[in-house]
Symmetry: C2
Subunit: 181 residues, 2 copies
DNA sequence: GAAAAATATATCAGAGCAATATATGTATGG
DNA sequence: CCATACATATATTGCTCTGATATATTTTTC
């Protein structure tokens, strides 16, 4: 599932510029399970345009660079729905936070506390954003389902951190307690 | 946090070959939040060797290619603990499964069911592997904490899928029900 | 007894990210 | 009241990393 297919997916929800596609992955409905950078989106849109999978209409803007608004063609919609039937690649998670935390014994306890507190705050902010999302009301069933799963998982993560925070900090502060016994 | 630091992290838990480092990310203690391929691990180990951060000892093996066993040097341990103090990059999740499922309205209901069932099975298998992990008993506090978080999150994900599976399939099968009302 | 999977290292093409460049508008704050 | 930061908008480039492939042998599975 490359960036071209991801772009087709965003465009299947309505026309958008490259900048807006980026935002869909940064703050929008895909933010908690996918992302794409400008360095991959703009080339992808050019390629899709050349292949006739998207149409491009330039919107002249006063006092701003021209906006290139892309929309799916019939052929593009076809390619997208076919791509959806393929076997999904395995999920990939990359968390420097968890990697660092798994070596908590090498960190000052105060640092461990700060890391966890920052992360709890981040989860709580994300949850707020995801929960009172206006657009969610009229979303298709799949999007609603996936959003609900994001909320369930983030909530479990935040609760775990809140519940086990103090025990980890205590363990790190007194590393001998267990061994000495 | 590049692959070189990841390798130092694995080696801080004990000496290992490139092949064994790969396994640590595939099935081992890091599998649920990080990964690295051979194409990045082997060059990283060469670079670390050249920089004097790891030592390499070749173990001749009967009937197998020679195993190159790497271990941390004092300098390597130093670089690693310093790297741990840096601000972690934001987490990155990449799930084709959720992306595809967010467009469930374009899929046959049977396909949606199959996707979800496969995923539930995968979560349950992973949970089993993570829960009865022998090595976990004598792991450092950070590793135990992170493992517990993985279990909590996977469990929440599996439960969400089990709870909401049928409702999604019903919604996809009867797409007009809501609009017609 | 054949096929598949595991052990083990290594390389390379291509994909994609982070940083940077360019140009301008709006908000923040001292 | 001006400077700094942030938002809109597209584009490119260097560098990192993945996925596929190559090579060679053993062990397991069917």
């Amino acid at each position: 599932m490359d960036v071209k297919i991801l772009c087709l997916g965003v465009l299947s929800r309505g026309e958008a510029s490259g900048y807006e596609i980026k935002k869909a992955f940064e703050e929008g409905p895909f933010s908690h399970f996918h992302q794409a950078s400008f360095g991959s989106i703009y080339p992808a849109l050019n390629a899709l345009s050349a292949e006739g999978l998207v149409a491009c209409r330039a919107q002249a803007q006063e006092k701003r660079p021209d906006k290139k608004i892309y929309s799916l063609t019939a052929k593009g919609r076809d390619v997208f729905t076919t791509a959806l039937l393929a076997e999904p690649d395995h999920d990939r998670m990359r968390s420097d936070f968890l990697f660092i935390l798994s070596f908590a014994q090498f960190l000052p306890p105060a640092r461990v506390a700060a890391l966890i507190d920052q992360r709890i705050a981040w989860y709580r902010e994300s949850l707020e954003r995801m929960e009172d999302c206006e657009a969610a009301r009229c979303s298709p069933p799949g999007a609603t389902f996936v959003r609900g799963m994001g909320i369930a998982v983030y909530r479990a993560a935040a609760e775990y951190l809140e519940t086990n925070r103090d025990a980890l900090i205590a363990d790190v502060a007194e590393p001998e307690a267990l061994v000495a016994e």
